[in-house]
Symmetry: C2
Subunit: 343 residues, 2 copies
């Protein structure tokens, strides 16, 4: 089967330098080159030197595809988020990627958009690359997504939402609870009227619902609810307050927004109309974005430590990969209400 190289190398179509080539130049076999790279201590100093020189001379770059196929470890980790242009997810993935990179893994990142079906299809493509672990956003997935994940047998972490019964591991927080906490704040501050402005996914809606429930339970009037399908934006926040004021009979009170950018828009629109914040209109955002404490007045918001989510998710996967984790893990990292000038 294996025809020995009869002296002269056959004309190599592919242009890549192989370990074979490096070994030939260094006067050792291909395996020794492999060893020199994966565990230098296992080859003699002299051999190592010659191999290093040969690598330098040839510009050899190991083929990780072949390595992964042979070792059954790809060194790849899948990360699936709704959108990378959303700072919430971007900063989480950034922290996740840093930790995984330190552990020797590379991130295969994809956007899944809004539907679970898109997530399922993207996941299938990713699994064909045989990742060593998977990060998913959210706790709701299609049946086939779950099945594929289970069948793959690799560690999985679901982030940015919380459940006691994750596929494998979960790192998140209780979205409805954040809304209820803001509802309490609104009631504590003595507001009678309140409104919500939502331009996010299902999780954002749950936050808004938690707010409405708690605010009315605490004696507030029925909450005016405004929802948008497009991405959160300053313009959207301005338009929302305008609509609340001009068309929906909102007079004065607290506005809870699904993101700080919407809250900032509400703030700007209020000021453009000569309304005082927080006296006439109070506003609370979500996410504690970088700009939120530098506006005038600074924006009250719900803080969640996005980087911590990314790091914790990485740890959960690493412990799974290395078999240090016995069973499922569900970690609630919680949140903090940041009361600032806007409410």
């Amino acid at each position: 089967m294996h025809i020995p190289d009869g002296g002269e190398p056959k004309s190599r179509r592919g242009r890549g330098v192989t370990m074979q080539d490096v070994g030939r130049m260094a006067g050792v076999s291909q395996v020794t080159v492999s060893r020199a790279l994966s565990d230098p201590a296992k080859v003699s100093p002299d051999t190592l030197r010659r191999i290093t020189q040969a690598i330098e001379a040839t510009g050899f770059v190991p083929n990780a595809l072949a390595g992964a196929l042979a070792s059954r470890r790809s060194g790849l980790v899948t990360a699936l988020v709704p959108s990378i242009t959303n700072i919430i997810y971007a900063s989480m993935v950034q922290a996740f990627g840093l930790r995984m990179r330190d552990a020797g893994y590379q991130i295969l990142l994809s956007e899944t958009g809004l539907t679970l079906e898109a997530e399922e299809e993207t996941l299938a493509r990713h699994l064909s690359r045989r990742p060593d672990a998977v990060l998913l956003t959210g706790i709701h997935h299609t049946a086939r997504t779950r099945r594929m994940l289970l069948a793959s047998g690799i560690p999985v972490v679901e982030v940015w939402d919380f459940t006691e019964t994750p596929i494998d591991a979960c790192v998140g927080f209780d979205h409805a609870a954040t809304g209820r906490a803001v509802g309490d704040l609104a009631a504590d501050l003595g507001h009678v009227q309140a409104a919500t402005v939502c331009a996010g996914d299902e999780r954002a809606k749950r936050r808004m619902a938690g707010f409405a429930t708690q605010f009315t339970r605490r004696g507030g009037q029925a909450v005016l609810e405004l929802g948008y399908d497009d991405q959160a934006s300053l313009a959207g926040g301005r338009a929302a307050l305008a609509r609340l004021l001009d068309e929906m009979g909102f007079d004065r009170g607290l506005v809870f927004c699904s993101s700080d950018i919407l809250a900032h828009g509400v703030l700007i629109e209020a000021q453009a109309r000569g309304l005082r914040v927080p006296q006439d209109i109070a506003v609370v955002g979500f996410g504690d974005q970088e700009f939120s404490d530098a506006t005038n007045p600074p924006i009250s918001t719900v803080h969640v430590d996005r980087e911590a989510f990314g790091r914790a998710a990485a740890e959960a996967l690493l412990s799974g990969i290395e078999g240090r984790r016995d069973g499922p893990a569900a970690i609630d990292l919680g949140f903090r209400i940041l009361r600032r000038g806007s409410a």
Copy 2:
């Protein structure tokens, strides 16, 4: 998560179902399964049906690692950007990824941070996965980066900056020219004093320098220049204007910022001090971010079509991969000055 061995007939250590397995179940050889997947038209309808059933029954997921090794095409495309939490790069990569995904490629994305050495190291790791093409941010790279790229023989596109002599292809714009154009605007508006606030990379500095050169050439006073090492932020913009006003003798005039977020900070600080914008302080940003036309007043800025960069970069690589491109390509996508209320 530990999935018990499903008790397969043959003691397969590896838990993946292979084409071999699928073929056996469908009563055909492994190659036929491969064909059914890559080119269904080459297989008889009846065979195809049986194969499809077998795939369904086994939950077979093709191993792209093996496929890539055998075919010498990984279906992977490398994208290297300074930071994914910077909306500038995130939106560019998003558009790039969409186009490449449509063409059947998956993106291997990494952050390179600020140094060319980090870029080099990251690139080396990426090349070991044998990507079919590479996207790089900027036109400055280490010698070894260039050497590795040239040796790999795959299409390369450098984005977000412009040169007539790219490694392979280039899609960008002239940063200094944007600064000069804003310098002209400042002069046209009759400003005598001007300042720059920069919190970005080398390209941002080139924009600021272009502004200063042109503004003084047009008769303006020497430009006050403020530079920060940290990321651009609202707070940074506010602090910058405060410093300009309180410590550097800036009185009234135009402030050109390296990003819209800084410009927004300047705007807020000016208003907090009771200064009129644009009468007392005029401000121009860069990037035309989503919020920039919804502030009060809206921010004048330099618009660059980030999505267009991403798409054009994708096209450049695709034409290279498919051999449709003969030689290097250098595309200057230009920019537009958007004059709004802030200047």
